[in-house]
């Protein structure tokens, strides 16, 4: 099958991501979509390592690594400087993990979006602090094992809904994307590029190492996340206009959970409860999109 994505490459061999790394796949497709007039801000995350050590880099775009909690702020500064230099052509992109977005970087992100800074913020979400060795974040889903939610202490709190938090800022554009749906991902990156002001894209990026799945399952799991309504694909314009991009046949969440080592401890009762939570979230999204049956 031929994918309708640009041929251009800005990510080259030599990256040091784990086999099957969803974050590496996400980066490759995003850069194809955004092109060479892109400056990237990279707060601490897996990609701080994946890009490779000095004096080499796997990415052929200007890249500034930054402190963990600064994704929104450093990008604001880069944008301001480009504006002062009269460069309106270059797109400024922050590329951050879930820790740098949902948790430690949330203040700077919220500040930047409230100011409607002209940049794209991409959060590639692998649902825990994977770079430091699988510790729970506020993006870790209900039911998951991590090294800081071990044994019977598995996470019994919901994942923070980051897109809704951004939508509450009346951000011009917010969307979810997924590495198993590259055409949709590329379209959203290109659409984001064409919009002025703050734009946020939440990308599902599987982590074989942290999720205890075989590396060849990376894409399959990502696809199932959409098909089960665990990670719906949708867009929100100006904080009010919702569009759901994909209506799955509502597979059961237990299929998705059973394949992953991080959920191995869950009982049928736990899975029933999670199914209810997912159904509830999906209904809520349908209502927001004006599509409730």
């Amino acid at each position: 099958m031929e994918l309708n994505v640009p041929d251009q490459e800005f990510m080259y061999s030599g990256h040091v991501g784990c086999p099957g790394c969803g974050a590496a796949i996400a980066m490759r497709f995003f850069l194809k979509a955004l092109g060479d007039k892109t400056i990237m801000v990279l707060p601490a995350c897996c990609w701080s390592v994946i890009a490779g050590p000095y004096p080499q880099s796997t990415l052929k775009i200007p890249l500034i690594h930054s402190a963990f909690e600064t994704g929104g702020a450093v990008a604001s500064g880069v944008r301001a400087a480009l504006d002062m230099k009269g460069d309106r052509e270059t797109t400024v992109v922050t590329w951050a993990g879930d820790g740098g977005t949902f948790d430690i970087g949330f203040q700077a992100l919220s500040g930047a979006v409230e100011r409607n800074e002209d940049f794209i913020y991409v959060c590639y979400d692998n649902e825990a602090y994977m770079n430091t060795g699988i510790q729970r974040s506020s993006s870790t889903p209900y039911g998951a094992w991590t090294t800081t939610t071990p044994g019977a202490d598995w996470k019994k709190l919901r994942k923070k809904n980051i897109v809704e938090a951004l939508v509450a800022h009346r951000i011009p554009y917010a969307a979810t994307a997924n590495i198993a749906f590259p055409e949709d991902l590329v379209r959203k990156a290109q659409k984001a590029k064409s919009i002025k002001g703050s734009r946020f894209i939440h990308v599902y990026a599987s982590c074989p190492t942290g999720w205890r799945i075989p590396s060849e399952m990376s894409i399959k799991i990502a696809r199932m996340a959409v098909q089960t309504n665990i990670f719906p694909l949708y867009e929100v314009e100006d904080g009010i206009r919702y569009t759901i991009n994909y209506k799955p046949k509502e597979y059961l969440v237990r299929e998705y959970f059973k394949l992953q080592g991080r959920f191995r401890h869950l009982t049928d009762r736990d899975l029933d409860q999670i199914q209810e939570m997912v159904n509830e979230d999906w209904d809520l999204l349908l209502r927001k999109a004006g599509e409730h049956a």
Binding site: D36, K37, T38, I39, V41, S48, V49, A51, G52, P53, Y54, P55, S57, L59, K60, I61, P62, L63, I64, H65, S66, A67, E69, T70, G72, A73, V74, A75, S76, G77, V78, R79, A80, A81, L82, D83, M84, K85, T90, Q107, A108, S110, G111, E114, R115
Partner: protein, 392 residues
Amino acid sequence: MKRVLEGSHAVAEAVRLAKAQVISAYPITPQTHIVEILSEYCSSGKMNARFLRVESEHSALAALIGAQSSGVRTFTATSSQGLALMHELLHWAAGARLPIVMAEVNRALGPGWNIWTDQTDSLAQRDTGWIQLYCEDSQEVLDTTLQAYRLAEEVNLPVMVVLDAFFLSHTYEPVDIPDEKDVDRFLPPFTPKFQLDTANPCSFGQLVTPAFYMEMRYDIDRAMDMAIARFGDIEEEYHRLFKRRYGAVEAVQCDDADIIFVTSGTVTSTCRLVLKALRDRGEKVGILKVKLFRPSPSEEISRALGTAKKVAVIDRNCSFGAGGIFAQEVRAALCNLPGHPLVYGYIAGIGGRDVTPQLLEEIYWKTKNSDFPEKDRIWMGIQEVSHGTQRS
């Protein structure tokens, strides 16, 4: 042109003349007057600059790290808690070799809340790789801010221009404001040695193994050493154009002095009065004003103090358990000098308490009448504290 300005306004005038292009700041007393004026200059078009009204001091410096890396001149100002919140990024800015200039208005750290002057906030940042320049009056604040940009951009290190809260930041004095054309000659537009550029894509601040990291740190230390000489050259040029210079240190009547005060900031002005009064009474006393704190001008310090019998260091700061920070620096500068003077450390004026001429005279006589410093620091003017409620 002479105008009567607050110390804060003197900073703002210098930043306008330096044509900073991106300014980012978060309000904190007593720094606010600086950024209020700059905000107004950016809005009115008096300055062609972007003012980023960020949500914290941490983000203020983070934004400048982004802007400066993109090749423009930048500025921020802060105090106390704000500077402490920036701490992580102070290291980052220096490590990334970014010539950011900051005005830091010395204010005490909480708790309890205290907005008055105290140097502990800036001195606690001494190991971050920022050049620190302490100022005595508003004219010096303006001149130093302009020099700070030249120095920062020549050695690729960030510079902190430090001024006392209220005694300097909110005090009006006549200040000579240089002509824009002359400033342009002294400080040409910023030409970055490296920057984020889509035509030449490079990675900044990436992962670096032990095979290279140490050399990068060595380079910062070398640049710091270089900054002492460069500061001298820059002052020389500034003097040619504007007829004013201050020196990394200023030695006042030190040549024949038996006892030398070491001061920084506005305490120096008070000390100058005391010096005159004591000299009139035949006392052989001098002052060494320390302006450049990082890099440490140890040679200049030991040269100026070397012939004295005793040194009385006034510290409006304290490193708990170790004493005044300037006193530590002075001891370190003198320790290898044979027969070096005795060093007396005095902690005074903490949290904005007045350092009066009487207090400085008391310090002088204490020093003169003592054969040897029994303690490494003496807290001046400590009162008996009676607690409001007593346990029965």
